[in-house]
Symmetry: C2
Subunit: 600 residues, 2 copies
């Protein structure tokens, strides 16, 4: 077993057990697409999707004060439609007026930000529409195939999704051009390993991190991100509030191989001392530019909360549970007017397209309880998000749509159907949903049920929920539990949709299980360390990892051992195939074949 | 917070936090039906289903050497169709020839077993068909209503299930008469608090316990049972192998308020030294009588594994994964004939009906991997189980049907549909199913996804899976995690089916959440202790349990606090209702109303 190492001093590095990093080169572009190859003891190694970045590559030199390598700068500059500029000066308010020892140091290596020239849209959507296959598109195409050369298994119910045997760069381009998928990839996030979010691709998951008013150094926040992607988070949202937001975000992005999302409203609110009514378009706009220059890949924008919808929440059991939604609702009500997010949406688009920041249109009125699911307020906002999607698309901006929340199982499908209908197939990105309210402490599970289902129905990305949801701030173990839980939910969704590559890993693991290859069983699982530790609690001896039964049931009661005996016995007798024919209905005792039926 | 106490020395007793035991009397019979009433700080107390028995009743005197009170003996004797008899003598083989210090002491208070007289069927099915409402039927009717007098909410998709507003004793009788539900209640399990399993009732869960070859005293096994029902297990299966099976089972049943299920084949196999081929009908039959006299409420019988089906498993990835199924398959193949379970099925029925032991017809050929789901072998056996159901019903025996296993989401519904079709609506009892194979260590979650879905579709009871599945023997924490996980899955299923009482608890908890009543939120949850502990990790101070925000987000970012502000603000302005009208589409910016539409 490979022990993860800590550096700097808190960053987790090192390969996962039995795993090595491999890279597949592009054919259109000079790119190297990372995958994780899991060694299997008596089969071919299995390559799997790998979100963990260079941290799991022993050949990579990690120094968080330098950040990850700049891989995308040349891609952006080669397109000839962007230019570096001086950028906005960092203001004391950006870090909550922290000074001296309380101020997180600025990231030491600052680059001038890139921005579109001449008012151009430098988005993946603009390129896709222009017929251009970018390096980002080829990268995600290779990545999605996980080293497969064929589609071994086609089985599933895709609910209208269209999953190709193998993803080609052209397929990626066409999906982006249609608005059905996005590659969140700010031109200033040059360290990014691009990934794609869309229902015709693998279901993705997001993990939330973020410092709060009192805690966390920049090292801790970088480590949270590294830890989340180690276990499979495809994107990470930095939901920091409090001081030092700007500087900590810089440290995160410069060290992040995955897209980073934020809710810019949180920082804007900090800048006005937490008084929602004091928010202004100018402060918000300045915050968007600040974060776009840093390289944030997607922004949650709660532009769908409109004045007339707020009274629709009056009779709800849990009112408005989205932080951004409640802040904007308060602003609207106080000023008695539509929000600046809605009124200035076209200006927001102009900023987004200049850096290729993707929209994640926030569901500010999502239900916070079973009682409030699928209500008037929720679906009214969803229709507005659909209108905003068209506006953003007209500006060549990439868009995904956020969804709930708390929804009982029988109301989940309607969420997907309504979203597809009103939001024109823009990717859906949901939080869970939780399928019951009665299990605080276990909401990673109540929500994994909903997440697996809505992922099956077509949701492109699932925002994780940790065991601490509703109760407290997740620690390291909670983050891992949340990520693994959502990885298994996303994979269950891929299987059910009939993703042609998904079942390979299940089959490899099940073969290992049937053949008593314990080490392979651990290594092929989502969390080899936990599986091994649980096994060793009951059966610590090395002998138990090679024996053809285990001490759980013992040899007499081991169904798999007996199955092997049965196969051997059957083959000795005469071969299974002819037996099947011979015994078919042979000994029917209670349901004899009708006398009129000819004997076989 | 009420601390659970340990007695004897390992039995957990004491009420759950803020809870007290209440009893509702019958009107037809002299019965007292226990419920758990949860106190809520500013609302009426909420009564909930309570499987935990007298262990959570501070008024009860617990002495495991005496066992629980005999509540059902008079019910059985009053019917005039049973009589006590000397019963079978305990043989050394019954306890695996354990002697001296290795022999678990016999339970000290032995009663003569009861048995039907004159070859009668003394089953709940026989009484139901005769139009008799038994005390057991009235008991479960009251229990299912959870103290409700009305059905506050009707919402859901029931897939053909028929859930009444309130369950009446006559409804119970009719469901049992139709074979759609069972009350597993051996006449010799006099300590039982009856419960019902059927798709028109609340979804139930089972927890497995059992000693293995080396471990466990009788106290430990009794405690495992008590611990499992404390958290909500509705039935408990004793899957013991090894020595002392007979005596430990006696201790469990005499102290069990829930139905106890077993797989008699396991003990029979021990009696022949673990050599499957040496099993005989005589040994098996003797084991059935031994366990029926003790009071086992349901037997898993793998009578559906037929000779011609065995070759169908040849090309499976994981062969036969049911222990009972593999043992019987080996026997069949060795002797080249149908199993004695199949050939002697009518004789088995004669034993079952004399004690009212319910059948749980085992799925010996269930799939053990995603690759094997819904295959020929599985569905061939299911059809045989349907045939056997009719035979058992003809003998007035109660029947439920066991189901898989490992099934991807898109193949789950077919399992339920096939079961309903081929097994004539006999209750379905499934193990999960697991929706992917790739997460060893997290199979309580991979399976909770499938369990919630199949419960929604109509499965009546869900057999839990613990985090240690495939890896080792569950410990106390694993048992609790498995039980809570399955309780939330069963509840999610009840909500989605539209069980008329289910949402009461979600709503009560969500109201508490919205009103910052932290203590109520913990107490109304499935696991108050864990919720409280998680909360206290982040916010230990008592002040945090009363403040109208919490330190997770702080007051500025607390959506629920802001929601309250919004309500107050809106009410100040003019009342929500008129606002809704006033603002409706008022400020449409991008989608102006058509000019032809009259202004409102």
């Amino acid at each position: 077993m490979t022990k993860p190492e800590k550096i700097a001093p808190t960053i987790t590095t090192g390969a996962l057990p039995a795993s090595r990093k491999i890279h597949i080169p592009g054919t259109l572009h000079e790119i190297r697409v990372p995958l994780r190859e899991i060694a299997v003891s008596n089969e071919a190694a299995l390559a799997v999707y790998d979100s963990s970045g260079p941290y799991t590559d022993p050949a990579a030199h990690i120094d968080i004060a330098r950040g990850l390598a700049d891989v995308r700068g040349t891609w952006a500059l080669a397109r000839g439609d962007v230019a570096p500029y001086a950028g906005r000066a960092v203001l004391p308010a950006d870090n909550g007026f922290a000074t001296g020892a309380r101020l997180t140091p600025a990231f030491p290596h600052q680059r001038d930000p890139l921005r579109a020239t001449g008012g151009r849209a430098v988005t993946q959507l603009a390129y896709a529409r222009a017929g251009i296959i970018t390096p980002e598109m080829e990268f995600v195409a290779i990545r999605e195939n996980e080293g497969r050369l064929a589609a071994p298994i086609r089985d599933g119910e895709a609910f209208g999704a269209s999953l190709p045997d193998l993803v080609t760069p052209e397929f990626v381009r066409a999906e982006i051009a249609a608005g059905r998928a996005i590659i969140p990839a700010n031109i200033n996030h040059r360290e990014l390993e691009p990934m794609i979010i869309g229902r015709n691709f693998k279901v993705k998951i997001n993990a939330n991190i973020g410092n709060s008013a009192v805690t966390s150094s920049m090292e801790e926040e970088v480590e949270k991100m590294v830890w989340a992607i180690r276990w499979g988070a495809d994107t990470v949202m930095d939901l920091s509030t409090g001081r030092n937001i700007h500087n900590i975000r810089d440290w995160i992005i410069r060290n992040a191989p995955v897209p980073i999302g934020t809710v810019p409203l949180y920082q804007a609110l900090e800048k006005v001392g937490g008084i929602a009514e004091d928010l202004t378009w100018e402060i918000f706009r300045d915050t968007l530019i600040e974060q776009a220059e840093q390289g944030v890949d997607y922004f949650t924008i709660h532009a769908g909360v409109r004045l007339h919808m707020i009274p629709m929440t009056a009779r709800r059991v849990t009112g408005i549970v989205s932080r951004g939604g409640s802040i904007m609702a308060k602003w609207c009500l106080h000023h008695h007017r539509e929000s600046f997010l809605y009124e200035r949406f076209d200006e927001i688009c102009d900023i987004m397209r200049a850096y290729d920041v993707s929209f994640s249109l926030g569901d500010g009125l999502r239900p916070g309880s079973i009682a409030d699911a699928n209500d008037e307020a929720q679906f009214a906002e969803l229709r507005t998000l659909g209108e905003l999607t068209r506006i953003a698309w007209a500006k060549d901006c990439q868009v995904m749509i956020e969804g709930p929340g708390h929804v009982p199982m029988h109301k989940i499908k309607a969420n997907m159907d309504e979203q597809l209908k009103h939001c024109h197939e823009a990717p859906f990105y949901t939080l869970g949903p939780l399928t019951t309210d009665i299990a605080p402490g276990y909401d990673h599970i109540t929500s994994a049920i909903g997440a697996a289902m809505i992922g099956w129905f077509g949701t492109a990305m699932l925002c994780y929920v940790t065991p601490k949801e509703h109760l407290g701030l997740p620690d390291r173990d909670d983050v891992k539990t949340g990520v693994i839980t959502y990885k298994l939910a996303a994979h269950a969704a891929d299987l059910a949709k009939g993703h042609p590559g998904a079942q390979r890993r299940d089959d490899a693991l099940s073969r290992a299980r049937f053949e008593f290859r314990w080490e392979d069983q651990f290594n092929l699982g989502l969390d080899p360390d936990t599986a091994r530790a649980m096994h060793d609690e009951t059966m610590p001896a090395e002998a138990h990892k090679v024996a053809h039964f285990c001490s759980m049931c013992g040899p007499k009661f081991c169904s798999m051992r007996i199955s092997h005996d049965i196969r051997a016995e059957a083959e000795r007798q005469q071969g299974m195939a002819s037996m099947a024919e011979k015994f078919r209905e042979g000994g029917a005792l209670y349901v004899p074949a009708p006398a009129t039926e000819p004997a076989q």
